[in-house]
């Protein structure tokens, strides 16, 4: 069954996605995006459970938020052996369905931005690894929470139809 899904996926060009665009020159490293993200998705304030990761570059006072760029040709989606990575029809977000994730980590291995940008992470639940990544807050009416809460306008959301 899993094998079939994979074959079908490979033949289809996936729907395009919206994306969170980062302007790192505006980022001040406050980390509000990380905390809003983990609060919305996990019910707690924890940068390690955030789908966006703000890299703080010590001594140079520079900051760089890393977040999934929702590839047109998403390797994570194609490499997932269980079909746990799905595409949200409304936003186009490539998201991980936690119920189907077996914690193999193939998605993180396949991601072209990992491991430099920590954008696919895992949490441990009842000794099981569950991977998570940015889903563009697909079920949230107001759109991505990090974009809304960023006090510097360093993050913006570009919907799929406006994406170049």
């Amino acid at each position: 069954m899993a094998g079939n899904t994979l074959e079908i996926k490979k033949e289809t060009k996936p729907q395009r996605s919206g994306v969170i665009v980062v302007n790192k020159d505006l980022c001040s490293g406050c980390g509000i995006c990380e905390l809003a993200c983990s609060l919305y998705h996990e019910g707690q304030c924890n940068p390690s459970l955030s789908r966006i990761d703000v890299e703080k570059i010590f001594l140079s006072l520079e900051f760089e938020p890393h977040v999934c760029i929702q590839c047109d040709w998403p390797s994570c989606y194609f490499e997932c052996p269980t079909g746990a990575i799905k595409i949200d029809p409304k936003t186009g977000a490539r998201y991980i369905d936690e119920d189907d994730c077996v914690g193999c980590g193939k998605c993180a291995e396949a991601c072209p931005l990992m491991p430099k940008s920590e954008i696919i992470r895992y949490k441990t639940y009842e000794k099981k690894k569950i991977y998570f990544k940015c889903d563009l807050c697909k079920d949230r009416e107001e759109g991505p929470v990090c974009v809304e809460m960023c006090p510097r306008n360093a993050l913006s959301f570009v919907p799929m139809e406006n994406r170049r």
């Binding site: 020159d25 001040s28 980390g31 509000i32 983990s38 304030c45 010590f58 140079s60 006090p151």
Partner: protein
């Protein structure tokens, strides 16, 4: 696991390497966190007769229930210990610091950290997700604060956040800092030296845990609401500032959304050293880079005191960077500069070979190194101005200058050995009645109180010109300020110049003290809370507003959904009062705090205020503090909280100890 708090405080005895864990909820919510829980721990553990550098001295690093969350400005942590710089004798006080270390401590599984004892050889602590190791720090000893943090990142990973001391702390300089990141510091209390005395070079922290929130969606809404309230920053100074900060401003702490003064200076060409410098610029850093309030105290009625506050020259950022790397407090130079100016004015050109070329960056560059290493006369100045003024003979200063130099030293460090701050005398202007509030905070606190009281003093920035401030940040009719005080405190005359209505003025000062305890305990930024006044995006918006009232319930609106504990502003204020009274009780038990000590600040306020010339006399001061004790429920003879007051605050056990 509770909501908001993590539930654990780590206790480490460096002498016998004992590590234990205390339940935070023994102290919360009644002491909230930060400053509140720290004073309770000190009350329980710190015996009278302990000196700052004794192994028995306790260091408490404490976060609050909002630390580590996205509550606006919540990224700070409180450090409390016996401060070696307090004059004439050291006592217990606090000094908080921003950056990223305090949230990281919570992510590592602890609300706080208690350190006692003394390690035999230099060590650092490595706190990693619930585990702690005491590690050898021989290789780090002697290194600057930037190199130390860099090495710890190289060893333990880029995401490690560290607190550390520089050579100044190792050499027990009285104004040495505990440094974090590029320019965050626990600066004023000399706690760097306390860490140095314990042979503790650094605390490195990494955690991947989180802070559980009772009502996630309610908390998100509350944060969004408060973020919008505070985005343009401290409510008076930035009353008309835009709600989004310019890109070159980097906030001083995690979770701070404000358009505030601290800003980044990236890749500034160095003038004295070589290469490029990168640093943060705070209100205290510019004193070397562009000078800061250089107006002289130049009143005809006080002929002997004519002091400029700070220097300011090209190459100042080099000096400030060196200062931070060696682990010294930049604030101290508001003392040294005017003091040295008196030497120079009186023809003293050098002190034991040190040329007093005080407007040259090179002088400060050398001076700072001498102080940090206690070399030559640096050894005397390492004890700060007031103690150095007792060693003028050792500095070979002519005897006829001693009186004036001592008087000026006391003028610029008017109480407890802390630099004058917002008193309207040595440094900033504070037209009446603002200095009266500042003075009341100075009178009863255990340190320079302003790090917890900027909000009661910043109103200077919107005082119209006829009240003495030449350039208010916004055009605010005085009537509107009065209406706002009327709405907040029930009487607009509180903000009229002068001492009357005294009852109302004193009650307003007490209210601010309780609010200080709340923000120092949650912890939130002193510059930004409480939101007594609103901020506006423009003069037009301000003109349209019927009053200027902000939202003093903002703290409670954050606290309730974070912790799930229903505490209104009034409940939090009660906790604030409990904390303030317990601080007083600790100082009564351990340091014999009394009315005479509360009067320390008086003499300097008998000198005229810098801009409006208003001043105090002994009778008015007596009336003011009698009124203060009355509304506090303190005995006016010895300045102790009455048994009834302590009982009302749930501090019966405290009453039993001090009234035994």
């Amino acid at each position: 696991m509770p909501y908001g708090w993590i539930g654990k405080i780590l206790r480490i005895d460096l002498t016998n390497k004992d590590i234990s864990v205390i339940d935070t909820m023994k102290y919360a919510p009644q002491f909230i966190g930060g400053r509140g829980i720290s004073i309770k721990i000190a009350w329980d553990e710190l015996k009278p007769g302990v000196g700052p550098y004794d192994p028995e001295n306790i260091m408490i690093f404490m976060t609050g229930p909002l630390t580590g969350t996205l509550a606006p400005t919540s990224g700070r942590g409180m450090i409390s210990s016996i401060s070696p710089r307090v004059y004439p004798d050291p006592w217990f006080t606090r000094s908080n610091v921003g950056g990223y270390w305090a949230p990281e401590l919570k992510y590592a599984g602890f609300d706080g950290l208690i350190i006692v004892g003394k390690a035999e050889t230099p060590v650092y602590l490595w706190i990693n997700d619930g585990h702690v190791e005491i590690k050898d720090a021989k290789e780090l000893w002697g290194k600057g604060t930037l190199a130390t943090q860099k090495i710890l990142k190289d060893i333990h990973g880029e995401k490690v956040q560290s607190l550390c001391i520089g050579p100044a702390g190792e050499n027990l300089v009285l104004f040495s800092t505990i440094q974090h990141n590029l320019s965050n510091a626990s600066g004023q209390a000399g706690f760097g030296g306390v860490m140095g005395s314990k042979n503790l070079k650094a605390i490195a922290i990494r955690g991947t845990g989180g802070v559980e929130i009772a009502d996630p969606s309610g908390f998100m809404e509350a944060c969004k609401y408060v973020e919008n309230l505070v985005k343009n920053g401290p409510n008076f100074v930035y009353m008309l500032a835009p709600k989004v900060a310019p890109p070159d401003r980097i906030n001083c702490s995690a979770a701070c959304p404000c358009n505030c003064e601290p800003r980044a200076k990236r890749n500034v060409p160095a003038k004295i050293s070589s290469g490029f410098l990168t640093m943060m610029e705070h209100c205290l850093d510019p004193m070397f880079s562009w000078g800061w309030e250089r107006t002289e105290y130049n009143r005809e009625d006080v002929p002997e005191i004519k002091t400029k506050a700070t220097p300011g020259f090209d190459g100042g950022i080099d000096v400030q960077c060196l200062n931070e790397d060696l682990g010294l407090s930049g604030w101290e130079y508001v003392n040294f500069y005017p003091w040295f100016e008196v030497f120079v004015r009186n023809g003293v050109k050098e002190l034991k070979g040190l040329k007093l070329d005080i407007d040259s960056p090179k002088f400060w560059y050398d001076f700072i190194r001498m102080v940090a290493n206690r070399e030559g006369v640096g050894d005397i100045f390492a004890d700060s101005v007031i103690r150095a003024s007792e060693r003028l003979k050792d500095l070979r200063v002519p005897e006829e200058l001693w009186d004036e130099l001592k008087r000026v030293a006391h003028f610029i460090q008017p109480a407890y050995g802390f630099p004058s701050h917002r008193l309207g005398r040595a440094a900033e202007s504070q037209p009446s009645p603002i200095w009266i509030f500042s003075m009341l905070h100075w009178a009863f606190d255990t340190r320079d109180p302003m790090s917890s009281h900027h909000q009661s003093s910043f109103i200077e920035y919107i005082f119209p010109p006829h009240h003495g401030v030449p350039n208010p940040v916004a055009n605010v009719p005085f009537k509107k300020i009065k209406t706002t005080y009327e709405k907040l405190f029930g009487n607009g005359d509180i903000i009229e110049p002068g001492f009357e209505p005294m009852d109302e003025k004193v009650k307003c000062a007490i209210w601010h003290q309780h609010r200080s305890c709340i923000k120092d305990s949650l912890l939130l930024c002193d510059w930004v809370f409480p939101r007594t006044f609103a901020s506006f995006g423009s003069q037009e918006e301000l003109d349209k507003a019927t009053d200027l009232v902000g939202d003093i319930d903002a703290e409670s609106k954050l606290f309730i959904p974070a912790t799930g504990i229903e505490m209104s502003s009034k409940d939090l204020e009660k906790a604030g009062e409990r904390i303030y009274n317990l601080e007083r009780a600790l100082h009564i038990r351990n340091y014999n705090r009394n009315r005479k000590v509360d009067e320390t600040i008086e003499w300097v306020c008998e000198l005229p205020e810098k801009t409006d010339g208003t001043k105090l006399d002994k009778d008015i001061f007596n009336k003011l503090i009698d009124t203060y004790y009355k509304f506090r429920g303190w005995n006016k003879t010895n300045a102790w909280p009455t048994k009834d007051k302590l009982k009302e605050l749930g501090l019966e056990d405290v009453a039993r100890v001090i009234y035994r």
